[in-house]
């Protein structure tokens, strides 16, 4: 026993000596730029400025190639990328937050098909991916690994959370290689481009306005939310809650963890308490359980907003309820690799690449159902991969690389 500790102490002592002798701050680590230090108390999610911005963006006609929404932009402010222009196939390093929900899985499949196209075109040689499995800490380590070991030509990052990933993204920027961030943002403008659909407030505005139009003052809406503390989801609810409040709609919110059993219990309890006229969701999976709860209780179908997930679209069509499918554009998963191709070609890209995001309305349901016939329930209608090589088989079989 004693010897063990002697050895251990000796080791620690030796390490301390090494530390004294050669304590080096990692070269990749440098003091942060000033604007990054502004992260203060983010408890309140509602942000009037962002709300107004996204509200306005909903009405802008996107620019870009017709029929390719993943290349369209809204209010683009182009930046020059000539400094990155170079020949040859490049290696992309992708730090993914996770593929733990159907939306991300669908996007991930699409991204890999897009990769095949670009590999054939000789733009991208390979894409190395590390999946952080929903952990901030793991993703930071992933990005550091790429910086040290990845031999990356371009970093593509889908941050697991906004503020926490900022220092790591800055380290990636410091390598001088182009950095592309998509889906959730980071609190630094060092990436070459930040790709995302309009955003959570737009989702909240679309859905809340729809429900307010269809319902009357004093009606009750049950809001089914997945998790607290995730910015893209919180913003959806922050906008909707504000609008419901202003319109005199009574809204109660629950966290469901996207578990349909939980959703069904919540709706059943609400129906036992009194009538429910509307259902609002911050993500569509589990929508079917909510509708079935009304069926089982023998209550009238509610006015409902879900998502462009196939299960909701199918149930919507089948029941003929009054609904709206807001969209958090899944086709954005194609854009980062295409952006990388543009950057290496020296083409201008938008600093903030806002992709179109428009809900599926009752008139469009049939069209999207027909387009995606044969897709599994967890598939997203606006996945935008119809022109990719594996279509439709890869999405139908849901082959996750």
């Amino acid at each position: 026993m004693r010897r063990r500790f002697t050895v251990a102490s000796a080791m620690v002592g030796a390490l301390a000596l090494i530390a004294l002798a050669g304590c080096t701050t990692d070269p990749n680590v440098s003091a942060p730029s000033e604007e990054a230090a502004e992260t203060e108390e983010a408890v309140e999610w509602f942000d009037q400025e962002l709300f107004d911005k996204q509200d306005a963006e909903r009405d802008v006609v996107p620019e870009g190639p017709e029929g390719q929404p993943w290349l369209q932009t809204i209010n683009a402010e182009l930046v020059d990328t000539a400094q990155y222009a170079s020949q040859g196939a490049k290696k992309a390093c992708f730090a993914n937050a996770s593929i733990s929900n159907p939306w991300r899985q669908t996007g991930w499949i699409t991204m890999n098909e897009q990769l095949k196209v670009l590999q054939e075109a000789g733009a991208i040689s390979e894409m190395e991916t590390r999946d952080a499995q929903d952990s901030d800490d793991t993703q930071i380590a992933d990005i550091d690994y790429f910086i040290n070991e990845g031999n990356c030509d371009v970093f593509i990052i889908s941050p697991n959370s906004t503020a926490a990933m900022t220092p790591a993204v800055e380290r990636a920027c410091d390598t001088g290689k182009p950095v592309i961030v998509f889906d959730r943002g980071v609190e630094t403008d060092c990436p070459v481009t930040f790709i995302h659909p309009i955003g959570g407030f737009a989702w909240g505005i679309d859905t809340a306005e729809f429900l307010i139009d269809e319902l009357e003052e004093g009606d009750k809406v049950v809001a089914l939310r997945i998790l607290p503390g995730v910015d893209v989801l919180e913003q959806r609810w922050a906008a909707a809650e504000k609008l419901f409040d202003e319109a005199g709609i009574e809204a109660v919110d629950y966290f469901t963890g996207a578990d349909p059993a939980e959703i069904k219990k919540i709706i059943s309890d609400e129906l036992a308490k009194g009538d429910v006229q509307g259902v609002w969701m911050d993500a569509g999976d589990g929508a079917v359980a909510a509708i079935e709860a009304f069926e089982d209780a023998g209550a009238d179908y509610p006015v409902m907003t879900g998502e462009d997930e196939m299960s909701f679209l199918r149930k919507w069509k089948e029941t003929g309820l009054t609904g709206l499918a807001p969209v958090y554009s899944n086709f954005q998963w194609r854009t980062p690799l295409l952006a990388a191709q543009m950057i290496f070609a020296g083409q201008q890209v938008p600093k903030e690449w806002v992709l179109p995001q428009s809900p599926i309305t009752a008139e469009e349901v049939d069209q999207y159902l027909a387009l995606n016939e044969g897709m599994p329930d967890g598939h997203y209608a606006k996945f935008g991969g119809e022109d990719l090589p594996g279509y439709p088989q890869v999405w139908e079989d849901r082959i996750i690389p």
Binding site: S100, D253, A261, S268, A272, E292, S311, D377, D397, R398
Partner: protein, 387 residues
């Protein structure tokens, strides 16, 4: 609750009432008391809850978790843990969704396959625990990770879709057009059957052997128990119960990879609320089911009371700790008391008429809340450690 169940005036009414009161505040009765309080509270907040059709709906909702709790009960009373139940539920839900699809004729073969798969998972758990001597906590934790990961890999994260409605009828539908309750959900019937089987099983020699094994494995081994088989069978039972719960949940909720998530902890909590001792050897399956009902009633109460969604976990945490602490401390106090006075007080009276009365309660498993529990006459428990 207390008043209504004991009103019939019989000889020695006061005595009986006192005894019953003692039982209710005794650790093993505590869960029934808690359940009664919760149900009364729900009814006060929402009187329509007490209507028969609502009550039946409530039982339907609790059925899957109660069935999982029954399975977990056997594992825990045998001295082990099963953390893989939630993943088994998820796996079975996804299997049902992907293999049955819209073809109702596949329902029976796939159900058989699911049961076989459930039994296999339990068998693997049990054999690894018995022969490789890996703690069940670790075995079932590994199984939980591997099973869930495997299912997600197989389906690409999301199942194809809900299975045929005929199959989902088990969890969703029921016998319709009945008087009073309107509809008797199949889930309630299945729960009653499973509970009856569980009670019958735990009264059988084999069921008692499980408790003996959990209580003292060495004595059990010396008395000729095939330890490995008893242990393995508890894991098979729990995986099978998770399978049944999965079948009900496919109907009730539909297919989604998050169905069943966290069920292992809910089940363990329910079982412990029911006064079953972690580590094995003590507990009553009906109390475990009551624990499941109490837990679900708590969630319902929080829903009805309009408690902000973020506070619910905290409330749940407080109640779990208080309930278990109450059971543990009163249990201790009672033991101490009995050790001092040689003549046993209230709770000790119960064991004498024990078995017969026990069977009476057993015979009525379908009753929603087994509130009228003459006792906790686990004679096998009370004999232990008393001297």
């Amino acid at each position: 609750m207390t008043a209504t169940t004991t009103t019939p005036t019989q000889p020695g009414f006061g005595e009986r009432l006192a005894a019953f009161g003692r039982i209710l505040i005794s650790p093993r009765g505590a869960v029934f008391l808690l359940l009664a309080i919760l149900l009364v509270a729900i009814t006060v907040l929402n009187p329509s809850f007490a209507e028969p059709d609502q009550l039946v709906r409530f039982i339907q909702r609790v059925a899957p978790i109660a069935i999982v709790a029954i399975g977990q009960y056997f594992v825990i009373v045998g001295g082990e843990f099963d953390l893989s139940m939630g993943s088994v539920v998820t796996a079975q839900v996804v299997i049902a969704g992907n293999l049955i699809g819209q073809d109702a004729s596949l329902a029976l073969p796939v159900t058989a396959l699911m049961l076989a798969f459930g039994a296999l998972v339990g068998l693997v758990n049990g054999l690894v625990v018995s022969f490789l001597r890996v703690p069940s906590f670790i075995v079932t934790l590994g199984m939980m990770l591997a099973l869930l990961g495997g299912v997600l890999y197989w389906t690409g994260g999301a199942a194809t879709g809900n299975p045929a409605d005929e199959f989902r009828e088990l969890g969703r539908g029921g016998i319709r057009d009945l008087p009073v309750i309107g509809i008797l959900p199949w889930a309630v019937v299945i729960l009653a059957v499973v509970l009856a089987l569980a009670i019958w099983f735990s009264k059988r020699p084999f069921g008692r052997t499980i408790i003996a094994l959990g209580d003292n494995p060495v004595t059990a081994a010396y008395s000729g128990t095939r330890t490995w088989w008893v242990k393995t069978s508890t894991f098979i039972l729990s995986s099978l119960s998770a399978t049944v719960a999965g079948i009900l949940l496919v109907g009730y909720a539909g297919v989604h990879p998050s169905v069943g998530r966290g069920y292992e902890f809910t089940a363990i909590t329910a079982v412990v609320l029911g006064g079953v001792v972690l580590g094995g050897g003590r507990g009553w399956v009906v109390a475990a089911v009551a624990g499941a009902f109490a837990l679900e009633a708590l969630f319902t109460l929080l829903n009805f009371a309009g408690v902000p969604s973020t506070y619910r976990d905290a409330v749940q945490g407080v109640i779990i700790i208080l309930a278990v602490a109450y059971a543990a401390t009163t249990f201790r106090a009672r033991r101490k008391g009995r050790a001092l006075e040689a003549s046993p007080a209230g709770p000790e009276q119960a064991p004498e008429p024990g078995p017969d009365e026990a069977k009476e309660t057993v015979a009525d498993p379908a009753s929603a809340r087994p509130a009228h529990i003459p006792s906790t006459q686990r004679d096998d428990n009370d004999t232990k450690g008393g001297s």
